[in-house]
């Protein structure tokens, strides 16, 4: 009887550990949200979205330039990275054999694991050093390096889910292979491809480290790709470590805006574009080595 009681006790403690660790995981998430709502929501106002920053010392002003700058650079970065990522993903899933494919796969693997700050250094060495100034272009390039491997990976995994007989049916009709790929394989999985793209973009929108010394940040609204440009995350960082109360308040408002944008995109991609099974497949494959499936 004593043994059974011991086993039951162990089981009970195990349940206790399971439940408490789940609470431990959820707690910080809730706390972050509560504090953001409290602090950020309270300091949000229409002015925040419509004004550029005022000079140091004056209260008021907003982050219009940073929000626009973020959209500008993420847009520019994805303009390059999304098509390139899709092409690379298609290449890997449809023709993925040989030296080039293997080295591409290795490259993508490598890029997925690179810390974002190192991506910033990459872009710094290529753009900022040659142009001798911080620029929005360098920031966009850094973001595109963040986006590219994610999109390639997800595209490859999604396209692999299309059963072979579907492709063969297309080929048997006498279509050239590129038409089969474009109009059957890609078109058939466009909603899940969209999910992958949006998830990648939402990831890039929240990145700070690659922008710190590429786009650098500025206090003015600018649309020129060769000048420094503000972005929401960098602006939050600069304000958060500043000694001014008003700026810290704005950092909270900025963080609130940022998280609404990022989580909004994330949830939107999750629930509006695709069924769950496909989403799960994408997500799991992000962490896994590619396996040759036959």
């Amino acid at each position: 009887m004593k043994v059974i009681r011991q086993r039951k006790m162990k089981n009970f403690f195990f349940y206790f550990a399971l439940i408490s660790s789940s609470l431990v995981v959820i707690l910080p998430l809730l706390l972050v949200f509560i504090f953001l709502l409290q602090k950020g929501g309270a300091s949000l106002s229409l002015d925040f979205f419509l004004n550029n920053p005022k000079p140091v010392g004056e209260t008021g002003g907003g982050m219009r330039h940073a929000i626009l700058g973020s959209f500008y650079m993420v847009g520019l970065g994805s303009f390059v990275a999304v098509p390139l990522g899709l092409l690379c993903g298609i290449y890997l899933s449809e023709f993925g054999k040989g030296k080039i494919a293997n080295s591409l796969r290795f490259t993508i693997d490598l890029l997925t694991g690179v810390p974002s700050i190192v991506v910033g250094i990459f872009s710094y060495l290529i753009f900022v050093v040659t142009m001798k100034s911080f620029s929005a272009m360098a920031g966009a390039f850094a973001l595109s390096i963040i986006i590219l491997p994610i999109i390639t990976r997800t595209t490859e995994e999604i396209l692999k889910l299309i059963p072979r007989h579907v492709k063969e049916a297309g080929l048997a009709l006498g279509l050239p292979r590129w038409k089969v790929i474009l109009f059957i394989v890609v078109k058939g999985s466009r909603s899940s491809l969209m999910t992958g793209i949006i998830l990648a973009i939402s990831r890039a929108a929240g990145e700070t480290a690659p922008l710190l010394f590429t786009a650098f940040g500025s206090m003015y609204l600018s649309y020129s790709p060769t000048e420094p440009m503000a972005s929401l995350p960098v602006q939050i960082y600069n304000y958060a470590i500043s000694p001014y109360d008003d700026w810290q308040r704005q950092a909270w408002a900025g963080a609130f805006t940022l998280i609404i944008i990022v989580l909004g995109l994330n949830l939107f991609a999750r629930f509006f574009f695709t069924r769950k099974t496909i989403y799960r497949a994408i997500k799991n494959k992000l962490f896994k080595k590619n396996e040759d499936r036959t």
Binding site: F14, V32, L87, Y91, W252, N284
Partner: protein, 306 residues
Amino acid sequence: MKISYSKQDRYVYTGLRFFSLVVVCLLIAIIFQLFKASKLAFDEFGLSFVLSDFWNPVEDEFGALAFIYGTVITSLLSLLLAGPVSIFVAIFINEFLPKKLASILGVFVELIAAIPSIVFGLWGLYYLAPFVKNYISPFLKKYLGFIPLFQGTSFGIGILTASLILAIMIIPTITSVCREVFRSIPNLRKEAALGLGATKYEMVKLAIINPSFSGIMGALVLGLGRALGETMAVAMVIGNNPVISTSLFSSGATMASVMANEYAEADSELHLSALCYIGLLLFVVTFIVNLFARTIVWNNSRKSRS
């Protein structure tokens, strides 16, 4: 003129190959640039760079040991905190919760991964740091103060706070890989364990944890890779003070945080080069760690499939 189908296909194929080559060449160029940029510091300090903890931009003397120490200790500590929790959560989601609740908790965990690190940094700076200062450190000092790790005064900002933030941030990575590993175990084995009269705990231990041990290791190493490279959240709460101290309450600096702090302001060539050198080290280390983790997870999933 009509182009034959086989030719069209060849063009498309060549085009795709071309773009792939562009990406590969880009990476090679980047790595080459990184080596070139860190060459100056390498020539100046050689390998003693990683053995010296003297970092003084004013006198152009650089050694990275303090940063390496900071990176290693924060990553390991966060892994220690996050590892068990993530494994428990993965088991809870996969094996215990009913389907609906499981997917809700799963989404919650994934949302943590979606929160930008700057937001965690902000939260850490204004809420977690005071909390650590006022509650966690006095508590640790009172009960574990005899260990050197928990001695000294706490200002809230420091290694302990950074590790806590990091732990929160790597939980989703470890959890999702663990869930994937656990999912590959056939139901038959779990049922066999339960059928023999095992309690749920014994079933989990015998049929889930033991056979997927290497997979769990892989998940932990992947989490480690993520922790090593995490920048903003750590840079905001660690204090950025390149000292090596035995106390977890003291401030410190990591390889990523020093780059974030000093790169834009570095004006001497040697300083920039030294930062690039650190970047190169970080790049190589995370690459090796990730490769190692992937190999483990990959081997594990292949083994369980066959």
